[in-house]
């Protein structure tokens, strides 16, 4: 996993609640057996018209959102299917951070496993960022070390993250390698409980 320490980038806002993973990456693109190359299909049904041309109405197609690396959206982002293709697509498109008032549990975990940082902020702060995101020149800095989101205009907010996950992200560690350290505990558990089908 790519380590995440500090990131500065442009924000793009999609002012909708309950954006589900079927919208983030529609099912027809889940058949690939690689982890890469999903960015071209991100938000496919919203991003493209039936004739395959970009939908000018869709937020990410607006000129002011070109090159955005921080996505801002309303509550319950990433609900629905457990498909990890959703964070793969967001990341492959260029996003490094997602900010919303709340996230669906599985999606939140999936992001952390891929070095994509999901940040929960208060509803009012998200409203503020959604408004700011309408500007082409608005940039935000996210420091994982300090657990803080700030801009150059005085906005600065702390955010919560599980310390264990934070450590993994900062170092970009492979979690499976870490778990192997506890091999003796796993073997002992198996001797005690004899799990079987």
């Amino acid at each position: 996993m790519k380590p995440f320490t500090i990131h500065r980038g442009k924000t793009a806002g999609i002012d909708r609640a309950n954006i589900d993973t079927d919208q983030i990456i529609p099912k027809q693109f889940l058949k690939r057996i690689e982890r890469t190359g999903f960015g071209q299909f991100l938000f496919y049904d919203w991003r493209y018209l039936s004739d395959g041309t970009p939908n000018p109405e869709f937020e990410l197609n607006r000129p002011e959102n070109e090159g955005a690396t921080i996505l801002v959206a309303d509550e319950n982002f990433g609900c629905g299917s457990s498909r990890e293709h959703a964070p793969w697509a967001l990341q492959d498109y260029g996003f490094r951070v997602i900010i919303a008032p709340s996230f669906a549990d599985i999606f939140y975990n999936n992001c952390l496993k891929n070095g994509l940082l999901p940040i929960r902020l208060d509803k009012e702060d998200v409203r503020y960022l959604l408004r700011q995101s309408e500007r082409a020149d608005y940039e935000l800095t996210v420091s994982l070390e300090e657990q803080r989101v700030f801009d150059d205009e005085g906005f600065s907010r702390p955010f919560d993250i599980d310390p264990y996950r934070k450590q993994l992200l900062l170092k970009g560690w492979d979690e499976i390698d870490l778990t192997f350290v506890y091999e003796a505990h796993i073997a002992a558990y198996e001797r005690r409980h004899c799990p079987r089908p």
Partner: protein
């Protein structure tokens, strides 16, 4: 001793390692695998030269991509590739696989219980959000992403923080024509798609106790639609009776010993939950969704709402957008919505009792002109049994298409797709935009409501219909 919930008990039984400031390392008893969310995980193992720690606790099948007619002829090359990858991976890593030739093949959440792999007290994971289904047996079952699939394959464990507990108690009895599907849709409709976020739900109360295992599976299946990490029900005699004699369930004396253990798992009297919601079963009517998430629903005797009825601007905008997508006008009675497609199937409602209930409405009648209706059994075993009982013939005589098992039109990853702009009465679990096909307009309903919509060509209140005995 302090009374405990079943969630506390299962959790404590599975902690492999615990340290302050870290999530618990939990042991996983059963890992179910399917073709869509596993290829990248196996590839990850291969790249690092890792093995599958417990192939014997892992079980695979193929369901998402599988065609439900001519199942051996997969014309989509990418889908075929993915299915071939699962076969290759299972062979290489020694994982049992119910493939397309197997009598045990079916939707992963239908076959786990059917084979007796799903048992009370187990921790069960699968790279699929509807893994919550298995909670019906008093198992702690939840969906995971592909990185976690790889982690479980390699270590048979997961690092997990214990979620909070939410009790949803359904008091009293359900009325005629009201099913488990209506109960879960009513819960999500009243409390929203985020009510369970950060929680594990335990469903309790008389209405739940009176339900069969298959009805309980429908309820737990859609816990994820309420945002919950998992949903479960304490095991009881109904659970034990279902499991007795199943292929992977303990046998003979072992079974009796297991029942003793399982019985002790049930939540203790007086156990505390972080939150409790109580619902009176008699207030629940047959439900129909009118929008693009499972909370956007009303009872069959209701009308499509006005966006102004909703409090926040965000909600009003979401409702406006949903109605535009669904092609519905505020104030339209639900029973006036015409239906062009009917889909009876999916991990929510494709089990034998679902098909029996639907057949009781269909028997001796015909599918309305202009309606295309599909019945897709959840597994090859369900299919076989339904054919033996004569249910298949009832559907075929009425003009339904009778298919092989798979996820089918629930998610449109296979040839079963609902065309743009058409309304589908569907027994599945998600009515998201484009879920059943680009522009498809999904209405989530129970199997009896879907069957009735097929016969009448629009939604009807099943409470006013007479069901015919089918077995």
């Amino acid at each position: 001793m302090k009374p405990k919930t079943i969630i506390d008990k299962i959790w404590e039984n599975h902690v492999v390692y615990r340290e302050e400031g870290k999530p618990d390392l939990l042991y996983i008893d059963l890992h179910l695998v399917h073709e869509v969310t596993s290829p990248q995980a196996f590839e990850g193992l291969r790249q690092k030269g890792r093995k599958v720690r417990r192939p014997d606790l892992t079980f695979a099948t193929m369901d998402h991509n599988v065609p439900t007619v001519n199942r051996f002829v997969i014309t989509d090359e990418v889908a075929r590739n993915q299915i071939a990858a699962l076969e290759r991976n299972c062979r290489e890593f020694g994982i049992p696989l119910a493939d397309l030739h197997s009598e045990e093949q079916g939707i992963v959440h239908v076959i786990g219980p059917e084979l007796g792999l799903t048992q009370p007290g187990k921790t069960i994971v699968c790279g699929d959000s509807h893994t919550s289904t298995h909670g019906a047996f008093g198992a702690l079952a939840f969906g995971i992403g592909t990185s976690e699939v790889e982690h479980v394959l390699a270590t048979q464990t997961l690092w997990q923080h214990k979620p909070k507990t939410l009790q949803i108690c359904i008091n009293g009895r359900l009325g005629k024509g009201v099913t488990a599907k209506d109960v879960i849709l009513a819960i999500i409709g009243r409390y929203g798609v985020g009510v369970g976020t950060g929680y594990i739900i335990e469903f309790t109360g008389e209405a739940i106790r009176r339900m069969s295992m298959e009805e309980r599976m429908t309820i737990c299946n859609m816990s994820i639609e309420a945002g919950a990490r998992a949903g479960l029900i304490s095991p009881d005699e109904t659970t034990f009776a279902y499991l007795r004699g199943r292929k992977y369930a303990p046998k003979g004396e072992e079974f009796d010993k297991a029942v003793e253990r399982w019985r002790a798992l049930a939540s203790d009297e007086g156990a505390e939950y972080d939150k409790t919601i109580e619902i009176d079963a008699s207030t629940i009517a047959p439900m129909v969704t009118w929008g693009t998430n499972p909370a956007m629903s009303t009872s069959v005797d209701g009308v499509v709402p006005h966006p102004e009825q909703f409090e926040s601007k965000t909600e009003q905008n979401a409702v406006r957008r949903a109605l535009e997508y669904m092609g519905l006008k505020p104030g339209t009675p639900i029973t006036d919505i015409p239906v062009q497609h009917v889909f009876i199937g999916s991990c929510t409602n494709s089990r034998l009792s679902d098909l029996r209930a639907a057949a009781s409405i269909v028997k001796g009648k015909k599918v309305a002109p202009g309606v295309r209706a599909l019945v897709v059994p959840g597994s090859q075993q369900v299919k076989k049994q339904a054919e033996a009982e004569g249910l298949a013939q009832i559907f075929i005589d009425a003009g339904f298409e009778w298919r092989d098992s798979g996820c089918s039109a629930c998610l449109g990853m296979n040839p079963d797709i609902i065309p743009e702009g058409e309304h589908c009465a569907s027994t599945s679990n998600r009515n998201f935009e484009g879920r059943q096909g680009k522009g498809a307009r999904t209405h989530l309903v129970s199997p009896v409501m879907a069957a009735a919509a097929a016969i009448y060509g629009h939604f009807v209140d099943v409470r006013q219909l007479e069901a015919e005995p089918v077995c």
